[in-house]
């Protein structure tokens, strides 16, 4: 049993460890470690395409996760107050946003946006007062919108679970003591659900930062980090990709660990 478990953990971590190890390889070889060097990191960070892809990814991940955290939390609070029927409808829609494969979300968004733009752009051209009407197209906005969909469903799910585990008595006590609903929310509810909102934000950020397939369809001419990495892999495996992969790994590792610590705090506080 022990041996089996050890080999499972080895299986999970050895491939990642190998990529990290070879990112520090001095030579170009993929099978022979010829010496320690950080040269590939220097090369990666000196690559302007890569750095701008990274900036795009960070911006998209932050914006979509922030929107998802705010709107998802609002939705979770609002759904509490809905009737059973409407609540079931929203539950189904959020579940669909999570279950439908990313490739389908990407395609559906692409198809819909292209159809909408083909109506809007000529209309804008006619109505625009100036000489050069703006051309609507795929880009940052469409990636943020498509990522935001999944992320919002994720945040709503996490925050809703937290609200459900909150004691109603403390909220009632607050209103019995003549606190306005807003004060009750600010002083009682918000502090208790804040770790879940933050965890949801971080998971949403991680999802967006790591997503390849949805962005691949709706990115238009823009490049995100996963799209850049994918394109480089197709050109051939090089030690530079190992360095980029290691950086991506470290970033997502930090995010997920923070999210887990926040969720843990929540669990121990609720006494589970």
């Amino acid at each position: 049993m022990r041996a089996f478990i050890s080999s499972v953990y080895l299986f999970l971590y050895a491939p990642i460890a190998l990529v990290v190890l070879f990112s520090f390889n001095a030579g170009r070889s993929a099978s022979e470690f010829t010496g320690f060097s950080t040269a590939w990191y220097g090369k990666a960070l000196g690559n302007t395409f890569l750095v701008s892809a990274l900036q795009n990814s960070l911006m998209i991940a932050f914006t979509s996760a922030a929107l998802a955290a705010v709107f998802g939390t609002m939705a979770a609070l609002g759904m509490e107050r809905l009737g059973a029927r409407m609540r079931a409808l929203f539950d189904a829609l959020f579940a669909a946003a999570i279950v439908v494969p990313g490739v389908v979300i990407g395609i559906a968004t692409l198809v819909a946006l292209v159809a909408v733009f083909s109506f809007l752009n000529p209309a804008l051209a006619i109505l625009w007062p100036g000489d050069r009407p703006p051309q609507l197209g795929l880009g940052y906005g469409s990636i943020i919108a498509a990522h935001g969909l999944f992320s919002m469903a994720l945040v709503t799910m996490i925050v809703k679970a937290r609200i459900a585990s909150l004691g109603r008595d403390i909220v009632e006590a607050s209103s019995d003591l003549y606190a306005t609903p807003l004060t009750t929310f600010r002083l009682i509810v918000l502090p208790q659900i804040l770790p879940s909102i933050l965890a949801g934000f971080l998971l949403a950020f991680t999802f967006s930062f790591d997503d390849f397939i949805i962005a691949f369809f709706v990115a238009g001419s823009k490049t995100t980090l996963p799209i850049y990495v994918f394109a480089s892999i197709r050109r051939g495996v090089t030690p530079e990709i190992n360095a980029i992969a290691t950086l991506v790994l470290v970033a997502s590792l930090l995010l997920i660990l923070t999210a887990r610590i926040l969720m843990r705090e929540k669990r121990s506080k609720s006494g589970e």
Partner: protein
């Protein structure tokens, strides 16, 4: 007064839910309708979409039969392989592991799931590629071994990518199992093996079902693993879709395939829920 308060309450509820509702409508419901409309249309001569109402795209589905067969064969096969590795692991974590290290060990299983699948799949491309294991095998005299771009490589990538997602629900169902039942079984003279098959395994079935359903559903839409480890030889529906949309620009046909994929996902989901209903007692699983 009461009516006024009710109106105000409803307004607040509506305001809270409005942004998410709008988002769901514009970026989920509307795109689905658009995709359905496209699926019944025709391909414009220069690519893209041309309005029409025809079932031709759906009639043409057999042209991508290989992608469907690969997906419908390898997704469940991959999920079952995951299960074979995941069950003993989850059992160890929930029952045998030292409670002091349990949380850390569980964390170590969850964390890879939330790190880039692209990078994790790339790692195997690196290992299975000609400069990896085949290169090492050549050193000891075994030449010309091909590992990359085979169904085996895709299955390996699937197990690697989705193992954490399979372990978690099984772990949760085993962890909440009442230990007194196991003691009772032993007190009544059952051998450990019959306790396992008579008590532990049946009670962990909801977790097994959740894991198999989750992994199968996600695999049905997989693109990266067959793309990187199957190298165009072992392709899934996801790969056919990328090709149709971004290379040959046959959007109506691609939409018809995407609609069919969603239908398959819904069927799998309903079958899974039906079975889960029978084994009953499913509990929500924390994926984090």
């Amino acid at each position: 007064m009461r009516a006024a308060m009710n109106t105000k309450r409803n307004l607040v509820t509506a305001a809270l839910i409005a942004p998410a509702a709008a988002w769901l409508f514009v970026f989920l419901v509307l795109p689905f309708i658009a995709m359905l409309v496209f699926a019944f249309g025709e391909r414009a001569p220069e690519g893209g979409y041309q309005a029409a109402f025809t079932f031709a795209q759906f009639a043409n589905l057999p042209a991508r039969a290989t992608a469907f067969w690969n997906t419908l064969l390898l997704a469940p096969a991959g999920a079952l392989l995951c299960l074979v590795v995941a069950y003993p692991t989850a059992y160890y974590l929930a029952v045998k592991a030292n409670p002091r290290y349990r949380l850390m060990l569980v964390s170590l299983v969850v964390v890879p799931f939330w790190t880039s699948l692209l990078v994790r799949t790339y790692a195997w491309m690196y290992i299975l590629g000609s400069r990896g294991i085949p290169n090492l095998l050549a050193l000891i005299g075994i030449e010309d071994v091909r590992l990359l771009n085979t169904p085996g490589a895709v299955l390996l990538g699937i197990v690697y990518g989705y193992l954490p997602l399979m372990i978690m629900p099984i772990y949760v169902s085993l962890e909440m199992l009442d230990r007194r039942l196991l003691e009772a079984s032993a007190d009544l003279g059952a051998k450990p093996v019959s306790t396992f098959f008579g008590v532990t395994l049946p009670l962990s079935l909801p977790g097994v079902m959740t894991g198999v359903a989750l992994v199968t559903i996600l695999l049905l839409g997989e693109y990266l693993i067959p793309q990187l480890l199957g190298g165009g030889k072992v392709f899934f529906i996801g790969n056919a879709l990328v090709d149709l949309f971004l290379q040959s620009r046959n959007w109506p046909f691609g939409s018809a395939i995407a609609v069919t994929l969603v239908a398959v996902v819904v069927v799998v989901l309903m079958v899974a829920m039906r079975i889960a209903w029978k084994v009953a007692g499913t509990r929500q699983v924390d994926l984090v």
